[in-house]
Amino acid sequence: MSTPLLACEDLHVRFETHAGEVHAVRGVDFEVHPGDCIGIVGESGSGKTQTAMALMGLLADNAAASGSVRFREEEILNAPSGQLNRIRGRRVSMVFQDPMASLTPFMRIGAQLCEVLHQHSDMSRDEAKARALEVLEIVQIPEPRRRFGMYPHELSGGQRQRVMIAQALLCEPDLLIADEPTTALDLTIQAQILDFLRSLKKRTTIVIITHDLGVVAGLCDTVLVMQEGRVVERGATETIFNASEHPYTRALLAALPRPKRVQPPKGRSIGTTAPGKSLLRVDDLRVHFPTRVQDHLRSRTVPLKAVDGVSFSVAEGETVGIVGESGCGKSTLARAILQLIGSTGGRIVWQGEDLSGLSRKAMNERRRDLGVVFQDPLSSLNPRMTIGSIIAEPLRRFHPELGREDRDAAVLNALRDVGLDREHRDRYPHEFSGGQCQRVSIARAMILKPRLLICDEPVSSLDASTRKQTIGLLKDLQKKHGVSIIFISHDLSVVRIVCDRVLVMYLGHFVEIADRDILFDSPAHPYTQALISAIPVPDLKAQRQQERIILTGEPPSPTAPPSGCVFRTRCPVATDLCSEREPEFRTLENGARVACHHA
């Protein structure tokens, strides 16, 4: 075998913290050979990112690394920065997770790119600019010349990540380390970046660090699984997926949503089998925000059409999923239903009564039956209130007649329902993990036994195993209390487990409404098809068989939506008709409703 490009031996990373020493990486060994594509997989806190930081000499000040890291036989662990800087950015380069935070906000894209070339070569300004533009072209950024003079905040998330990758590729490095390169991105954009990384495998050696086995399955040849600072299993991707030996790997794989058909749960909610009474009906709802745009010299107000004419209903006991990428208007829709923001048009009929006409006081009375769980568990809990008083607050408002003892009993009940202990009652939110905080949010939302629970990305910020538990909890509560759920998510694999019926949203419009299995088995709308094919499936066979539809470009701005069908600018089957006429909803034979001229 060839000499390794990078050899890491018995790597340890220790952090000195106020709470004592944290041993984050505990003896990691691995080798990277030219042409490899290695995936390092683990949940948050497994030490995978710190391993990469140690390799690059980027550890925080309070960290100490020991062991050995050799790049082409040269020892680089704890090397002086002068020595590291001959390698960093030139021979080994890195792509980070959050491209907004990882690009310097006040420097133009061009300056950030050229800086690397000026550091590592003696190119002139013009040569550097030409090279930077060439690489921007390689990473498929639209209009590279224009982007060159822009600031990071003027680019979309996908474009920013492309800039990060371009920055890493400038000097044609021998090794590219990518730390969660697609985690902060939308599904269709993630598919684009992964597709690009696959094409990059021919040019350079890659190490990908990720929590998502689906990403690894489609990309890497070798996988290292990390847990608590150690590599617990390693092998060819095929072996890991099909014949993994370590229980932790198997648990990771099991925690992931599988692509196969989900068996209908036993207590299947009545929503699809025998439609229950309609609880909520949304009729042609519109939410427009006035935004100011600069038009030559004058600024004028243009409506941002966050939600633009959506209709659906939720039956008793039903779970309705709303999926779409960031900016499609799904959270705005949730807020409008809850009357947390006003609507521009349309009706929200709740148990036969139009909510949008109600006074604030009357609306507040209705909130008794409307529970809500938000995305970020920690920031949606008041940091200065104890868990007990957070959960009890709705009771104080709606059941002032309850005495202290009754209220305490109800809070303990709610805590038990979500799997927390009575001792947790007097503690504060920051003492809990993300998953536990989300349980508190759920307990608070459920304590009044609402008839509808709106969950806005309730599991997006959680690790895979916590995510699975939280979903299980929601389903148990639903079975117990018969509550209807509107489940908003960008994650189709989660929606597939939870929901009876799925609404697919794009740029403020619904494009397809169908029962869960029908939607996933035979998606009718081209956007739904693309979304489903973009799910990184943690299954090798599926990855290879699946024909991937990769959408080009990014969603247009909701201030200037395309004429006709809103999806036509990215649609692989769009024709002239699509730009002329907005498609109406049609019901297909299998009961799915789809808004497309060609479905």
């Binding site: 920065s81 380069s93 890195m94 980070f96 935070a101 590592h120 905040h153």
Partner: protein, 307 residues
């Protein structure tokens, strides 16, 4: 940008109006009048003086007259220096105050930032602790304490520098007042710079810059310093206001012929028109310098640039 500046200046007009109105009525609430300090003034003469300066008319009418004259660019005659106009007095004092204030601000800004940067780069070292301890003292001890102490030590004890006076802005005469005036600003800026440096040193994009293989000084100068300056720029507004009130104290202590001292004398003499005139000068300066700070801020951070 020009558009934005013009809009801000337009908003400044009503702001000034409110300030003038408040000041006009507030000083009238204070007991006593402008001629109380003239010795042996008989009541008829006093009455004549009041008549001569319109002070016998109803307050609202006086206010209307003052605004009318102000609109015509006339700040009126001084009530205490009866042969001088307020405009003349300000024209005399302003260069002195401006020289003092500007030098102190520049010193405070640059020395403060330098101290903050050094402290942040040598975090938790002896240098850091020393600089921050001095800064803490600078923030905590008021100018009217530091100024006499400085005079005592450098002026009387060591005898290196003159005790007071302006002497046409001779260098030796400027040093002590400038240092005394700059100290609180310097200390405040040092603390803010250190904090924001530490924050921006931990930013993700600084890690990216290091991963690019840039040497540390380039990482600092290109990717760390600029965001670290931003809180300093927002602090400039209050710092300027602080330096102006500070200059009132400093000019009085060191006996400098600036508008700060004129302001104090004006207040003691109930020289209504002089006080109002200086208030207008101070308010205009603060509004203009704050606008300047906001424009610099927009230059440093493209995300908040006004469209």
């Amino acid at each position: 940008m020009l558009n934005y500046a013009l809009r801000r200046l337009l908003v400044a007009v009503p702001t000034l109006f409110v300030i003038v109105t408040l000041a006009f009525f507030l000083i009238r609430i204070a007991p006593g009048g402008p001629f109380d300090l003239i010795p042996d003034l008989d009541p008829t003469a006093a009455e004549n003086l009041r008549k001569a300066y319109d002070l016998d008319k109803p307050l609202v009418e006086q206010y209307g007259n003052y605004l009318w004259r102000l609109a015509n660019g006339d700040l009126g005659p001084s009530l205490a220096y009866r042969d001088r106009t307020v405009a003349e007095l300000i024209a005399e004092g302003l260069p002195v105050s401006a020289q003092l204030g500007l030098t102190a601000m520049v010193l405070g800004l640059f020395a403060g930032m330098l101290c903050g940067i050094v402290a942040a780069l040598r975090k938790n070292s002896a240098v850091d602790f020393t600089v921050m301890a001095i800064a803490m003292a600078g923030v905590g001890i008021p100018t009217f304490v530091t100024a006499p102490l400085l005079t005592l030590f450098f002026g009387l004890y060591l005898g290196w520098l003159p005790l007071s006076g302006w002497n046409n802005g001779q260098f030796a005469h400027i040093i002590l007042p400038v240092v005394a005036l700059a100290l609180p600003t310097l200390a405040g800026i040092a603390r803010i710079t250190r904090g924001s440096m530490l924050e921006s040193l931990g930013a993700d994009y600084v890690r990216t810059a290091r991963a690019k293989g840039l040497p540390e000084w380039k990482v600092i100068s290109r990717h760390v310093l600029r965001p670290a300056c931003m809180p300093v720029v927002s602090y400039l507004g209050p710092a300027i206001a602080g330096a102006m009130t500070g200059s009132v104290v400093i000019e009085t202590i060191f006996g400098l012929p600036g508008i700060g001292r004129a302001f104090v004398e004006g207040a003691l003499n109930r020289d209504y028109s002089l006080i109002l005139g200086i208030v207008i000068v101070y308010a205009t300066l603060i509004i203009l310098l704050n606008l300047l700070a906001d424009i610099i801020y927009g230059y440093l951070d493209p995300r908040v640039r006004p469209r």
